[in-house]
């Protein structure tokens, strides 16, 4: 065994091969956090459809007129007719478009399904006639499904009717 001076001994220690940091705890942490965050990313893919009730009358109105928006000068209403209404009035389910100065237009359902293609075309036509109009009222019957209501509101928004008024055809409780 050779003998070294104190300074040489220190040098020898410094020259030893540096140890790799222990990455296993960090890996474990990452393997826990990343799947959790990835699950949350899938969650954030949910879309949102907003109704603004902050201005004007607010709330859900019943029968004629809309809830959730300001005053309407040119009224356009979409009535989503349910099965109950169809049975009571001896007609088929569908949608009725009511516009001031025009006859009510019925869009009958096809094989029991609402005809959104015709509704979209009708809304496009109304949009071409009334370029500045942003208000539209959706009147929904109690037995109409939530999915159908969302699709109708969605088409209104797609066609530039940003102020959608939600209306129901029932007696009020509150």
């Amino acid at each position: 065994m050779g003998h070294y001076r104190p300074s040489a001994m220190r040098q020898q220690k410094a020259q030893t091969v540096p140890q790799e940091p222990n990455l296993i705890p960090i890996m474990n942490l990452f393997l826990t956090i990343i799947p959790m965050l990835m699950m949350m990313v899938v969650i954030s893919q949910i879309a949102l459809l907003a109704l603004n009730f902050s201005q004007g009358e607010g709330g859900v109105s019943y029968g004629q007129g809309g809830g959730g928006g300001g005053a309407q000068t040119e009224k356009v209403e979409i009535h989503i007719l349910g099965n109950q209404y169809a049975q009571e009035n001896n007609t088929t389910i569908g949608m009725e478009i009511r516009e001031a100065g025009f006859k009510p237009m019925i869009i009958p359902a096809l094989n029991g399904y609402y005809d959104y293609v015709t509704l979209n075309k009708t809304l496009q036509e109304i949009r071409s006639r009334k370029e500045t109009l942003s208000d539209i009222t959706v009147l929904v019957h109690p037995d109409v499904l939530y999915g159908d209501l969302m699709k109708t509101i969605d088409l209104c928004k797609v066609n530039g009717f940003t102020q959608v008024h939600y209306t129901a055809s029932k007696v009020e409780y509150y």
């Binding site: 969650i43 109704l51 293609v117 509101i153």
Partner: protein, 181 residues
């Protein structure tokens, strides 16, 4: 002498074996760690705290929409989940009852109104934010129940009501194709 020979030969063989094992190096996971760090930063950046409240429920079939409105940045959100068989209210996921009770039970409706008023007041007074109700309902829920919730929320003072859907830019095309078939 023979013993010495044996010793030297055994030592030599031992050295050879050692050399063999010394050549094997540990698996380098540095590059993997780099990738994981990049993913982690990306995920953290893309996730807001609001997402926790908008957790998707696998038991709810969401309707598809083209529109995707942004949630207000400064908003206090109260989630309400309507499953086909039960209603869950608030961030604490309080069991409310069945959706049918919304239309039939006046006391239940009053309870919902009271709860929403309490939540709305809390948002306005403590969070100083806009009041938002987030409705997550199943496609097959009759609108009667949705109307009751919207009405209770507006009566309680909620300014915005958001409906959770799944974004699908082609749903109309698909629907049209389905009808044609």
């Amino acid at each position: 002498m023979q013993i010495l020979d044996k010793l030297t030969s055994s030592n030599k063989s031992e050295r050879r074996v050692r050399k063999k094992f010394e050549e094997v190096k540990g698996l380098s996971i540095t590059s993997l760690l780099d990738e994981l760090t990049i993913i982690l930063v990306f995920l953290v950046k893309n996730i807001s705290t609001e997402v926790v409240k908008i957790s998707a429920e696998p038991k709810i079939t969401y309707p598809h929409t083209i529109t995707n409105d942004k949630l207000l940045e400064k908003a206090g959100t109260t989630p309400i989940k309507i499953f086909p068989d039960r209603v869950v209210v608030g961030a604490e996921a309080l069991e409310y009852g069945s959706p049918a009770e919304l239309a039939t039970d006046a006391k239940k409706r009053q309870d919902l109104l009271t709860y929403l008023q309490m939540e709305a007041n809390d948002i306005i007074q403590h969070q100083k934010a806009e009041t938002c109700l987030l409705v997550q309902a199943d496609y097959s829920i009759p609108c009667d129940y949705i109307t009751e919730i919207v009405r209770a929320a507006t009566a309680a003072g909620y300014s915005y009501i958001y409906f959770a859907t799944l974004e699908d830019a082609d749903w109309l095309k698909k629907y049209s194709a389905g009808l044609a078939e």
